[in-house]
């Protein structure tokens, strides 16, 4: 008596399992089934007031709209800066130096690593490059890096006082630097092999030749778009 009962229970369980699978599949494939459902329907198109107009009026309306389109296109074109500007892609780690009309130079760069340095005691720094529209605030030749606190903490070194000469590091920023504000800069690097990778503390690093071109083409006030 026992064996057939067990078999029946197994069959009921199997049937239940199949049913659950069917329900799940139907719900999971609902988008496809909705496409089937919508294929049963079709709408009337309604041109509204346009249907009352003759071909002369419609042609006139098209011409007027096209004229407005040209005006709008011009207005949008004029939003691009008149002087050279820099676009930095922090995902691909690439840059484009361009004018409204043409590309002056493009290549690879290094941007923020997105590392969150957790030094404990509530001390945290996030190394990301800020996004948005910025302007060049300063141009420096032979810049000296004034190392902030995190640079010492990161290397497990004691943090010196504010004006300690130990904070000064000449040479590591390359030949030029363009400041963006809040301590962020576009500068050179000793680690040329890491160009194209997100390895910085938030600044934008460029190769030597690229940096020179950017430095020579960008003026104070020039726009930098970072995304």
């Amino acid at each position: 008596m026992e064996k057939p009962e067990k078999k029946n229970i197994l069959l009921i369980l199997l049937a239940f399992f199949i049913t659950v699978c069917v329900i799940f599949l139907c719900l999971a494939k609902s988008q496809t089934l909705k496409e089937v459902a919508i294929s049963f329907y079709s709408y009337h198109d309604s041109p509204g007031d346009l249907a009352q107009k003759d071909s002369v009026q419609l042609t006139k309306q098209i011409k007027e709209t096209q004229r407005r389109i040209s005006v709008l296109q011009k207005r949008i074109e004029n939003l691009a800066p008149a002087t050279p500007y820099l676009i930095i892609n922090t995902t691909k780690n690439t840059f484009v130096l361009r004018t409204k009309k043409e590309i002056i130079r493009e290549g690879i760069c290094s941007t923020g690593s997105y590392i969150l340095l957790d030094a404990g005691d509530g001390q945290q720094w996030i190394f990301k490059t800020p996004k948005g529209q910025m302007r060049i605030l300063g141009k420096i030749t032979n810049p000296v890096w004034i190392k902030p606190d995190w640079a010492f903490i990161e290397e497990s070194l004691p943090v010196p006082s504010k004006n300690d000469p130990e904070r000064r590091e000449p040479g590591s920023l390359g030949d030029y630097a363009l400041t963006l504000g809040d301590g962020y800069m576009i500068h050179g690097t000793l680690y040329q092999r890491f160009l194209g990778l997100p390895v910085t503390h938030g600044c934008v690093r460029l190769g030597d030749d690229d940096l020179k071109t950017v430095f020579n083409n960008m003026e104070i006030g020039s726009k930098v778009f970072i995304f």
């Binding site: 999971a28 988008q31 459902a37 294929s39 419609l58 709008l72 529209q133 290397e155 890491f194």
Partner: protein
């Protein structure tokens, strides 16, 4: 092995019950919401007066199409100008030129060529004037799903000593490759999906399956909501574009949390 003793009648009953379940689910979760959406759209069409393009001459019909296309283009440009006044990055999808564009302050900062465009039946069937109003943006993203993180933050502790610090400096962690699939939902029953064009996965299969699961759950929850709701998400108008993986990643990470999107068809 003993032979199972299942009667023909049992098998037929079981199969019939499965078919009945499929039909009931189809009616409940697909047909009813779609019918509800259809009647909403039909009401809007009749409000406008049923004067179909079929009654017009071919020339008039073509001219009306031209008027619509131009007016839609004008509205797209007006909205692009409106978006240039905000400080965040917006996404412009130009289906006519097959371009996905990132725009900041009206300046096109990134362009990616769209390799494939998929528009679902509902969107294709929608009367032109309603499609215009559906697209007339700017549309703000209310929810999104993605296979990649928006901010790929890695938590790091300070080096134990200078030798460890030197080692890290000499060989920084290179970010791993990820596959990019994004879904952006708007509050007008419309979604935009941005998928990588590459078929071969660059990242892990697990991450891909995880996204697919989230994707399926998202649709399922909308289905259940639409059953009890007032027609919201009854039918989802879906626009899907495919672009290169790296471009899709750049676009997703560049956009703010609830970005504005403009679409030109």
């Amino acid at each position: 092995m003993k032979k199972l003793n299942i009667s023909k009648k049992t098998i037929i009953t079981f199969l019939a019950s499965q078919i009945a379940i499929v039909v009931i689910i189809f009616i409940l979760f697909d047909l009813i919401p779609v019918t509800r959406e259809y009647s909403t759209i039909s009401d809007k069409v009749s409000e406008r007066g049923v004067n179909t393009t079929a009654q017009l001459s071919k020339e008039s019909s073509n001219l009306i199409d031209m008027v619509r296309i131009n007016e839609h283009h004008e509205s797209y440009l007006r909205n692009a100008l409106k978006l240039s006044k905000i400080d965040s990055i917006s996404l412009l999808i130009d289906l006519r030129d097959s371009l996905a564009i990132l725009s900041l302050k009206g300046v096109s900062i990134f362009e990616s060529k769209i390799s494939k465009i998929q528009i679902n039946q509902g969107l294709k069937k929608l009367p032109d004037f309603l499609r215009d109003s559906l697209y007339s943006g700017p549309l703000q993203v209310t929810e999104d799903l993605s296979s990649i993180e928006k901010f790929p933050i890695v938590v790091k502790k300070p080096a134990k000593d200078t030798s460890e610090a030197n080692k890290t400096e000499a060989a920084p962690t290179i970010p791993k490759q990820n596959d990019v699939f994004v879904l952006m939902a708007f509050d007008n029953n419309m979604i935009l999906e941005i998928d990588q064009q590459e078929n071969k996965l660059a990242g892990s299969r697990f991450a891909y399956m995880n996204y697919k699961r989230q994707h399926m759950n998202w649709f399922m929850s909308r289905n259940i909501r639409s059953l009890f709701g007032s027609g919201q998400w009854g039918y989802i108008y879906q626009l899907k574009i495919e672009i290169p993986r790296e471009d899709a990643g750049s676009i997703y990470r560049a956009l703010p949390i609830k970005p504005f999107v403009l679409v030109r068809y």
